[in-house]
């Protein structure tokens, strides 16, 4: 069942087109994450859905009913702002009850509803505190509670975790997922952090420069990106421009641009002259010895970067001359030193053509 539908929505600010002919459907109970670099149009998209901007063209519908003409206060869509936007002159309880008041909910029920939602976000009994006395993480949960107390159809989250340190962010991600599951609300979450997007989302929507690059479940957009932008944005990648040297029914032989190294891909090339070859660092195998085979090379470790959970290596594969080698990014648990020789293999079926 579809919940929110965007149909050819465009938003222009003078000469600037922030959102360009964007269409998608967000289903009920879905955790939908819009991710992209700054200026890609993700925040504008959120504001369009919330009602703070009106589309220049196109329509937005909620459960089949168009809402583009409705003011924010008339939509059953609630938002958590990036800097929380808590009312400084009201207590936590009053902040949360504000929406209840504005929507003429029976005053008798306010106290219990406030208490319930505070339990939901894990901050019971702080109705009487004031926002300025709370930590960032607490404020964020109050902002969430304030939006959720109204039991909206759709919950919007505008980079809510950006201001938190990593530990808190990781914990809040788990919390957010849990709350969304418990309440069954449709969540639309905007972030520039691709890790966050991949871990939270049921559907990932990658935006760039006002257009949608790809929409799909996290594994799909990560392992089968549609184009170079998505490939590079969602984590480390090895992407190269390449030309087709030889193609048969199973494999395609590629010449990598500015290099004499040959790659073999299991994918079918498109008709154009240049292809983009792509594979993730985790698919690059590193070993001390290995037999010769397709996509197996001698390489030297150029550099290593210890990032805590894994080690990231840059590997130089020599070409026929000094200048035409190839550098790959690889992940490994094993320890290698810079300058060490290593045997590298990339399974052809993991080399995709974008």
């Amino acid at each position: 069942m579809s919940n929110i539908t965007l149909d050819s929505v465009t938003k222009e600010f003078g000469d600037l087109t922030a959102v360009d002919d964007v269409s998608y459907i967000i289903n009920d109970d879905e955790f939908f994450v819009i991710v992209g670099p700054s200026g890609c149009g993700k925040s504008t998209s959120l504001r369009l859905i919330a009602g703070f901007e009106t589309p220049t063209s196109g329509s937005i519908s909620l459960k089949g009913e168009p809402i583009g003409h409705l003011a924010p206060e008339d939509r059953d869509i609630r938002m958590v702002f990036q800097n929380y936007a808590l009312f400084p002159h009201m207590s936590v309880g009053e902040n949360i009850a504000f929406g209840l008041k504005m929507n003429n909910v029976d005053p008798e029920t306010h106290d219990s509803r406030v208490a319930d939602v505070l339990d939901l976000v894990g901050l019971p009994d702080i109705e009487d505190s004031y926002p300025e006395t709370l930590s960032g993480g607490q404020q964020q949960r109050i902002a969430l509670a304030r939006a959720l107390v109204l039991e909206p159809d759709v919950l919007l989250l505008d980079e809510p975790l950006s201001n938190l340190d990593k530990n808190l962010r990781d914990r809040m991600q788990v919390e957010l997922k849990r709350i969304q599951r418990e309440t069954g609300v449709t969540a639309i979450h905007v972030t520039h952090n691709q890790e966050e997007a991949l871990s939270l989302a049921d559907q990932v929507c990658v935006m760039n420069d006002g257009v949608i690059e790809q929409i799909g479940p996290p594994e799909e957009v990560y392992y089968r990106p549609r184009n170079r932008f998505v490939a590079d944005f969602l984590g480390d990648s090895n992407t190269f421009s390449a030309t087709v040297l030889n193609a048969d029914s199973d494999t395609t032989e590629l010449g990598v641009a500015d290099s004499s190294v040959r790659l073999v891909s299991g994918a079918e090339p498109s008709d154009s002259d240049t292809q983009t070859a792509f594979f993730r660092p985790e698919h690059v195998g590193m070993a001390e010895q290995s037999p010769d085979g397709t996509n197996t090379f001698d390489a030297t470790v150029a550099s290593r970067l210890f990032t805590g959970d894994k080690i990231r290596y840059q590997l130089d594969i020599p070409g026929e001359t000094d200048a035409d080698g190839l550098t790959l990014t690889a992940f490994s648990d094993s320890q290698w030193e810079a300058g060490q020789p290593v045997r590298v293999r990339v399974p052809p079926e993991q080399v995709l053509l974008l």
Partner: protein, 263 residues
């Protein structure tokens, strides 16, 4: 060594300037208790001037009128300015920057000219010497000051907070009432105090607007000084000094003076 002398020199210089500023105020207060009037040194302490002041109905009436005018002016000017600030804050109005500056024009016009212009204007409307006329004049005079204070405070509000209010179901009016205005409460109080004092102490422009039945306290004092120097004036002066000082100190608790001065 030179450091200490230098510090002392600075203290003396700054202190001297401050003393200069306060000198007449202190003198007035001293005189108000001096049974010999203006002659120094005082031979004792006496409250006769205060008694004389309280017996002078013209002075009492003028004082009450000034208080009423001050409150009335504040009550009318503040809502006008608040409404206009909300309007001025929205983007999209062409020439809005200019409009803001236009409202500051009265500051550039000398009070004599303002007063005179209003005199001519009111005489053709039959409003000379009326209380209404004085209120109008004061409204026009205090608007730029109030506008500076309120508009600056409004511009400082995080727009996300108002968006949040809308998002939660509040209409424009409700947002204004429950969120925006409460958030700038200090500025509103300061603005009101500021308007009150400006109206209460205004002399030059008001001189052109008063009539025989409607005299404000500053004008009354001015006339006393011009025509007959009576130490009763000192008692009035001392009272006004206390009143003004109290209002300012109270305002400062709410809203730091540095922002009000508008410079």
């Amino acid at each position: 060594m030179s450091g200490r002398i230098e510090r002392l020199a600075w203290r003396l210089a700054a202190g001297g300037v401050l003393l200069f500023l306060f000198f007449p105020l202190l003198l007035v207060i001293v005189i108000s208790f001096n049974p010999d009037g203006f002659v120094f040194p005082p031979s004792g302490v006496s409250l006769e001037w205060y008694a004389s002041m309280l017996n002078d109905s013209a002075l009492i009436n003028a004082f009450l009128l000034s208080v009423g005018l001050g409150i009335g002016t504040a009550v009318i000017t503040l809502p006008l300015v608040i409404l206009a600030s909300v309007g001025l804050r929205n983007e999209g109005l062409p020439g809005q920057q200019y409009l803001e500056n236009v409202f500051l024009f009265p500051l550039m016009v000398p009070e004599v000219v303002l007063g005179f212009a209003l005199l001519i204007y009111f005489s053709s409307l039959g409003l000379t010497g009326s209380t209404v006329g004085i209120v109008f004049g004061h409204i026009m005079f205090t608007t730029p000051f109030a506008l500076q204070t309120i508009l600056a405070a409004m511009k400082g509000i995080d727009t996300d907070i108002e968006d949040a209010a809308h998002d939660l179901g509040a209409g424009s009016l409700q947002t204004l009432a429950y969120v925006t205005l409460p958030m700038i409460k200090p500025a509103i109080i300061a603005g009101a105090g500021y308007v009150f004092i400006l109206s209460f102490t205004n002399v030059t422009m008001t001189l052109f607007l008063v009539g025989s039945g409607t005299v404000t306290i500053p004008v009354e004092i001015y006339q006393y000084i011009s025509f007959s120097i009576d130490p009763t004036v000192a008692a009035v002066g001392a009272v006004l000094i206390i009143v003004s000082t109290s209002v300012v100190v109270y305002m400062d608790r709410v809203f730091s003076v540095q922002e009000i001065s508008g410079f």
